[in-house]
């Protein structure tokens, strides 16, 4: 079920009413109901892969208990952790990377003159697999590091894994934040619910009005890059930057907003990333739940092992972490290059300053404090990010390289994609609103502003009007493919 579908807007009120009006008194019933609702939400897309989620939940639930039982026996603890990691990564590896590894393997043999039969399986990628496997893996990892204790309540755990607002595209919640919320009574709070509803509205605006309206133009530019003039290729890349941001942060806003309606508090996942003043700052503000996951479970263990190599060690850890991040996003060399470039952009930061900031901080984002005088830094960081998007958006690595070549040197210009003026105006509106609201959790968080009530409600109605009037043809959320 998509957040931007009619089904969802029938599903949501039904779940909301049953949850608060009929099951209010008993958290066990509430949790069980949310679990069933979440499975229905997922089954709407494909019921066959529900078994994978259930399997993943049972696996890490049991292994979590086993690791805790053996917390003073280092060897047994490691043994159980390895079982969890191996099975989780094998499932992810099979569904996501099988064909990629097979074809890369065949290509490698091709280049040394040995020709192998092309062989690939028709594997469908189960939606959300990269998100929920990371969530269950972090549970077992945190127990093994004595950071959290396992729960004995299977229903609460299974709901933590499958909770529908964050099941298919995150935020990748940690057990330390979300699991305890399933174990205690939730209270309905009108203010928080209103805040949630306005965050959902903002998410829908970003997705339906901005991202989906950018899509046709971006598809045209990236689909026929060899025919387009330089300026169009550059504009197409910049518009894609706003498309993917509006798409993914819009999704996240809806997820966080829906969670608020049910009395849950998710961690912030975006903190106005395009106002970042360097690449490290960008990664503290973009897809925070993933970058802090990679920070805790990939970067930190590597950097600790490499610690005697000083800055070289730290750079290697950063670089490897970004290659993993690339691979997480997709099974393709273009994603690996995308990650590698972000890693390389850390070089000047690591080697020029004595002290600098991290890939991401697990502390959660602080208020965005960008100033107008930071503009040159903001623009140069945004430019670097846009360069990497060419690799991210192109179908293959070859396409990305040819796209870049076409920017500098192009003989066969036969057309130029055109963009609607309204799309450009909406992008400008987004940037202005977010700049003014950058110290808030999201752009439309206007409840606390000291402005007239009627004016406030007019803004809400205006956003609703935009959604219905300028809403584009429905598109899938980009991050579903990861």
């Amino acid at each position: 079920m998509l957040f931007n579908s009619i089904e969802f807007f029938i599903f949501l009120p039904i779940v909301f009413i049953c949850y608060w009006f009929f099951l209010k008194k008993n958290i066990k019933y509430q949790n069980f109901f949310l679990l069933i609702a979440s499975y229905v939400f997922y089954a709407w897309w494909d019921w066959r892969f529900l078994s994978l989620i259930l399997f993943s939940s049972i696996l890490d639930y049991l292994i979590g208990l086993k690791i805790f039982e053996n917390k003073d026996r280092e060897k047994s603890k490691k043994y159980w952790l390895w079982i969890s990691m191996t099975i989780n990564l094998s499932i992810l590896g099979f569904f996501k990377y099988f064909n990629f590894f097979i074809s890369s393997f065949i290509d490698a043999f091709d280049t040394i003159g040995i020709s192998l039969n092309h062989y690939s399986l028709n594997i469908i990628l189960p939606v959300g697999i990269s998100f929920y496997t990371f969530q269950t893996m972090s549970y077992s990892l945190d127990i093994s590091k004595n950071k959290i204790e396992p729960t004995k309540d299977f229903i609460a755990f299974a709901t933590f894994v499958a909770f529908f607002p964050q099941l298919v595209a995150g935020p990748i919640e940690r057990a330390s934040n979300l699991l305890p919320q399933f174990l205690k009574q939730r209270k309905f709070d009108y203010k928080i619910a209103l805040d949630g509803a306005s965050q959902i509205l903002w998410g829908l605006f970003k997705k339906i009005v901005i991202a989906d309206n950018c899509a046709p133009y971006v598809n045209e530019v990236f689909g026929n890059y060899s025919d387009q003039p330089t300026l169009t290729l550059i504009t197409g890349t910049v518009v894609f930057a706003f498309q993917i941001y509006a798409d993914f942060s819009g999704y996240t806003d809806i997820a966080i907003g829906v969670a608020k309606l049910f009395g849950f508090d998710f961690k912030q996942n975006f903190n106005y990333p395009y106002f970042a003043t360097n690449i490290s700052d960008f990664w503290k503000k973009w897809h925070i739940s993933l970058s802090s996951w990679l920070n805790d479970y990939v970067f930190t263990p590597l950097a600790i092992n490499f610690r005697n190599h000083k800055k070289r060690g730290i750079f290697s850890a950063v670089f490897i972490t970004f290659l993993v991040s690339g691979l997480w996003h997709g099974a393709g060399w273009n994603f690996i290059v995308w990650g590698g470039l972000h890693g390389l952009f850390y070089l000047p930061i690591i080697f020029s300053k004595k002290r600098f900031t991290a890939i991401s901080t697990a502390k959660g984002p602080k208020k965005n404090t960008a100033k107008i005088s930071d503009l040159p830094k903001i623009i140069s960081t945004f430019t670097l990010v846009c360069i990497t998007y060419i690799f991210f958006r192109s179908e293959t690595l070859t396409d990305a390289l040819l796209f870049i070549k076409s920017i500098f040197y192009n003989h066969s210009i036969t057309r130029a994609a055109t963009i609607e003026t309204s799309v450009i105006l909406f992008i400008i509106l987004l940037v202005l609103v977010e700049w003014l609201q950058r110290d808030k959790q999201y752009g439309l968080q206007i409840q606390s502003l000291k402005i007239n009530r009627i004016f406030k409600w007019s803004i809400y109605y205006l956003v609703i009007f935009f959604i219905f009037w300028y809403g584009a043809e429905k598109q899938d959320f980009i991050y579903f493919q990861f």
Binding site: K145, N146, K147, N295, D296, F299, T300, P301, A303, I304, N305, R307, N308, K310, G313, I314, R355, F356, T357, A358, I359, S360, T361, A362, K363
Partner: protein, 78 residues
């Protein structure tokens, strides 16, 4: 414990370039702005150098607060 806390506070002040740091056993990375994941590595390196000890990597990953760091140092020194 206290004598280590004083020494560590000095070490943290120097590495993180913040003179306002005063550690107690419950202090965590959340309490100190500059204590992020990369500076954490510098802190570990500096602690190992100062006390001439070598931690196991897996042990470092289990630290939750300054108290855990002090216990690890005391354990290594004894």
């Amino acid at each position: 414990m206290n004598e280590y806390l004083n020494d560590l506070s000095n070490l943290f002040r120097e590495v993180l370039e913040n003179d306002d740091i005063t550690l107690n056993p419950e202090t965590t990375a959340n309490d100190i702005e500059e204590w992020d994941s990369i500076n954490h590595i510098y802190l570990v390196v500096e602690i190992e150098k100062t006390y001439q000890i070598k931690f196991k990597s897996s042990q470092i990953l289990e630290w939750k607060n300054v108290g855990d760091i002090v216990s690890a140092i005391i354990e290594k020194k004894s």
